[in-house]
Amino acid sequence: MAGKFFFIDTTRCMACRGCQVACKQWNKLPADKTKQYGTYQNPPDLNGNTYRLVRFEEHPSKENSVAWYFFTEACRHCLKPPCKIKADQIKKDAIVVNDFGAVLYTEKTKDLEKSFKTIKQACPWSIPTWSKKHKQLTKCHMCADRVAAGLLPVCSKACPTGALNFGDEAEMKKLANERLAAAKKKFGGKGEVLDLEDVRALYLIIDEQSKYRPVA
């Protein structure tokens, strides 16, 4: 199968949380008991029960009162995953990459509990989490079973506005270029696609990266 990519156009996201909840539903992940701590973002961070999280960041803005950025975050499925590189030093192929590029945490990661923190820190975005339920490393698995069957990952399927796209590399990169050009036109030249050479989850943003998510 051709390599698969996500393309996330944050300019279309309304933070409806469809992606976050669809992921929970498909993976039958339990809900956490959360508290309202003064933001729409909940749970506060990715964890063993939450593979995709919509982040909300608010900043002052001259033009329209505030800028409110939404960032649907999950594993980037790196082309050269730092988590795998680190984990392989301890237990080879506990983390694997499949034929369409999904970075998967296998059952063998059960033996990596002691190294969990190091593996998490290896990731530029601190994505790896520990599942208390399954007692292993866990994160977004690109709905690999669905994709292998010719379906979309559920997050992408749930998205109503075309913010969260998924498909073959060529298709997604073409879409990314089109949307980047449109964004630059609309937002006075601003717009970039992050980490184009390194990851399979391409994010289009129109402001500094740190304004969308806390920098690791």
Binding site: Q20, A31, Q36, G38, A182
Partner: protein, 804 residues
């Protein structure tokens, strides 16, 4: 909606005001997105910067409850800068009509106001008519007594500076909105408005919408693709419920419920059937007697005959001058006059304004039946906060029901599209579809009435031939809604056999030979089949009409008033806005709003607004109880001492209630902040369904109150801290969400603070979730619809020192 969801993509300028569409109608943003992809401008006007605002090109803040000031200023801008479509306004609206000598307006009051009765004599707002009863017109729109000139005079008072002082919107932001929107007056551009409860839930709710309708009419946006006035309905099938008259004042198909002073069908028809002498006016409501008779035949079947007025006397009537709306219902319940209550698929303990009054009112009932999916604050009211179960005698019955996906039937969306749904899953054991519950209840009630009862005729005579073996059948009901020929008959030269389905409401008769439980839906389930179940993606015009995907009323016309989208020759005002065109002697495109030829054919044509007696759109609206032109009044609870626009402080005919539970405090230093209520994407209405859903509750676990950084500083409140929000009626504990999305506003020279809360929480579950924001809201509302004013009221906010 006059238009429909997909049509939004055809717009050049989308104003989302009185709505947070991205929040509450997220799928609609798909169509908004397609419009903006093609260069459309998205404008969000809201007291708070919302998820919708985050996607808008232009955002303007506005004090809650000042929409008429904002829009009146827009009207003034349009008129002053001549951005209106003059030919459209002159020919298709009543802008050219001359007003009678009695019409006047002074200091916030229209002529005809009786201060003792607190009521207007609407006859004072009548048009000048010629000896044939046809309204006099000045098509040049110059006559000082014509609607256009009087409107100009009325809104000349809404200067940018005055509007800014009332709304708190800086003048530059007013112009940032008015400018782009007014551009849609050009023929090759159309603008649309997406609105919802932010406009309706005010004492001036109807006038808010009237104001926008007037703007759309003079800009020439009505009946056109990407135009119209689009209400985003708050539930997936509330359009269906209003179509089928789940409101006290209407029978299905928007027939007015008869008043007690009209003892016969003839008297009703005489009073309620509009007349016109204008040969160019279709005056479609002239057919009302056919729809009334057909409705009664659907109610009483064989028992309904011409001799007994088709059973008219068996239908309940409204006492003259009495309102039976939600607010009135709970007022009577609170006073102890109502003893039994079906709370069917609702949670009034959390959804109605002044929730404390509602909860206390329940304790006066002898019995309550709650039909719902989960336990809720209504069914369990008797063990709620402040309630002593030992003192409450109400017997509560809980009937668990099926969800929408567990039963078959139709849902009518905001765009009037009736879409048939199949049963996707079986309901859990013991849960029944609402229709089945109704069938079983009614059959038992009827059995009891066979042995006596106060007035058995209506119950025993009710038509029941569509129910077989005690089983509810959605198809059988849908067919009766469409209607049948009740005997062999010939209509319009065609012969029909008894028991066959009527093809459309054009074939309904007033002589008892036809039945139709809702004339608007006559055409939806015919001998051709269940039109609502169609799923064809054909789109011949390419404008997104999809005429064979489901079915819409009336007669599958997708854009209402579409004959206003063409000029007098039947050609679209602009080639790029073509959903209907008169070509070679016939209409091509959408179902035309009447098949008559274009206006140039004076012998055979009809004016495009066929539901109005004069055939034109109402720029001047003489039918509303609070005035023919919208006028800014302050909400019943507001932050300033005077109405800057006139000497009339609030809507002079807004309903106010007088029990000890009805307390209103305006401009009171104890309640210094403007509050509003709203929804969130993650919860559904009162949360009665969604709070029990762990994945949703995880995203929004507890009641919060959004406030500005400046107000937080003023009150020493930190983000995430527990607060108490209180009004004259009640209080709630909420977590502070300090945000830049609310900002202080300059109103009438004072700094005004606004706060907001979602109303999706209730004490039943989760225990630490918080209670309903409607404990704060006031029992007052719009005088036309009596929808409560839950969007603008006054509160206090302070730290509570408690833990979350």
């Amino acid at each position: 909606m006059t238009n429909h969801w997909i049509d939004i993509r055809n717009s050049d300028c989308i104003l989302i005001m009185g709505s947070n569409a991205a929040e509450n109608h997220p799928i609609s943003m798909k169509w908004v997105g397609k419009a903006t992809e093609n260069g459309a401008t998205l404008i969000s006007v809201d007291p708070r910067f919302t998820r919708t605002s985050s996607k808008a090109d232009i955002y303007a803040p506005m004090r809650s409850g000042t929409d008429i000031a904002f829009l009146g200023g827009m009207m003034n801008y349009i008129l002053t800068n001549k951005k209106y479509h003059k030919e459209y306004a002159a020919n298709y609206t009543n802008a050219s009509f001359i007003l009678g000598p009695k019409y006047d307006f002074k200091d916030g009051l229209f002529a005809g106001f009786d201060p003792k009765k607190k009521k207007y004599d609407k006859s004072v707002w009548a048009f000048e008519r010629d000896k044939n009863g046809i309204p006099k017109r000045d098509l040049t729109l110059k006559d000082p007594r014509c609607v256009f000139q009087l409107m100009k005079k009325h809104y000349a008072r809404y200067t940018p500076e005055k509007v800014s002082a009332i709304t708190g919107t800086p003048v530059k932001d007013l112009k940032r909105v008015w400018g782009p929107y007014a551009k849609t007056g050009a023929v090759d551009k159309t603008g649309t408005v997406m609105y919802a409860m932010g406009w309706t839930q005010h004492t001036v709710g109807v006038q808010n919408i009237r104001m926008m309708a007037m703007i759309q009419l003079i800009l020439g946006n009505m009946g056109r693709p990407g135009g119209g006035v689009n209400a985003l309905r708050g539930e997936s099938n509330v359009q269906g419920s209003t179509d089928h008259c789940l409101l006290f004042h209407i029978w299905p198909g928007y027939l007015g419920t008869p008043k007690a002073s009209l003892p016969t069908l003839a008297a009703y028809n005489k009073k309620n059937t509009p007349k016109t002498n204008d040969p160019l006016s279709a005056n479609w409501w002239q057919h009302k007697p056919k729809y009334m008779a057909s409705f009664l035949k659907s109610m009483f079947g064989q028992a309904a005959t011409a001799k007994n007025d088709f059973g008219y006397s068996w239908m309940p009537k409204l006492d003259d001058g009495v309102a039976y709306s939600w607010l009135d219902l709970f007022d009577e319940m609170y006073k102890g006059t109502i003893k039994g209550f079906f709370a069917w698929g609702q949670n009034p303990a959390c959804s109605g304004a002044n929730a404390n009054k509602t909860r206390k009112a329940f304790a006066n009932l002898d019995w309550m039946v709650n039909v719902n999916l989960f336990d809720n604050e209504t069914a369990s009211f008797w063990k709620g906060p402040g309630m002593n179960p030992e003192e409450i005698k109400t017997e509560v019955f809980f009937l668990p029901c099926a969800t929408s996906v567990e039963k078959e039937g139709s849902i009518t969306n905001s765009g009037r599209w009736s879409q048939w749904r199949y049963q996707a899953a079986k309901p859990p054991r013991g849960c029944k579809p609402d229709g089945q519950i109704m069938v079983e209840l009614f059959e038992k009630i009827r059995k009891l009435y066979k042995a006596g009862g106060a007035y058995p005729e209506p119950i025993l005579n009710m038509r029941w031939d569509f129910v077989k073996n005690g089983k509810y059948d959605a198809h059988a009901v849908a067919k009766l809604i469409n209607g049948y020929f009740e005997k062999d008959t010939t209509v319009k030269g065609k012969s029909f056999k008894k028991g066959t389905l009527v093809p459309s409401f054009a074939y309904l008769k007033d002589d008892g030979s036809t039945s139709s439980a809702n004339w608007l839906y006559c055409h939806s389930y015919t001998e051709k089949g269940n039109m609502a179940a169609r799923r064809s993606k054909k789109d011949p015009t390419g404008m997104g009409l999809y005429p064979e995907w489901s079915w819409c009323w009336p007669v599958n016309r997708r854009i209402i008033y579409n004959r206003a989208s063409v000029d007098l020759n039947g050609k679209p005002w602009s080639k790029n806005k073509n959903i209907l065109e008169y070509k070679n002697g016939k209409w091509v495109g959408d179902v035309p709003d009447g098949g008559w030829p274009p206006m140039v054919n004076e012998a055979k044509t009809r004016r495009p607004f066929i539901m109005k007696p004069d055939g034109v759109g109402s720029v001047f609206g003489p039918g509303r109880v609070d005035g023919p032109f919208p006028e800014h009044y302050e909400p019943i609870e507001c932050p300033i001492e005077k109405n800057l626009m006139s000497g009339t402080y609030t809507n002079p005919v807004a309903p106010i209630y007088a029990t000890d539970a009805d307390v209103y405090k305006t401009c009171d230093p104890r309640f210094p902040f403007v509050a509003t209520t709203y929804r969130v994407s993650e919860h559904w209405q009162t949360g009665v369904l969604s709070r029990w859903q762990p994945w949703l509750l995880e995203t929004m676990p507890q009641l919060f109150v959004e406030l500005s950084k400046e107000l937080a500083k003023l009150r020493g409140i930190n983000n995430g801290e527990m607060c108490k929000v209180s009004s004259a009626r009640g209080e709630v504990e909420a977590v502070a969400m300090v945000t830049g999305r609310f900002k202080p506003m300059m109103v009438a020279g004072q700094t005004i603070h606004q706060i907001g809360l979602p109303w999706c929480f209730g004490w039943v579950h989760p225990e630490d979730g918080g209670d309903s924001a409607n404990l704060l809201t006031p029992s007052t509302g719009d005088p036309n619809t009596r929808i409560p004013e839950t969007k603008a009221f006054m509160v206090n906010l302070e730290k509570s020192g408690k833990r979350r």
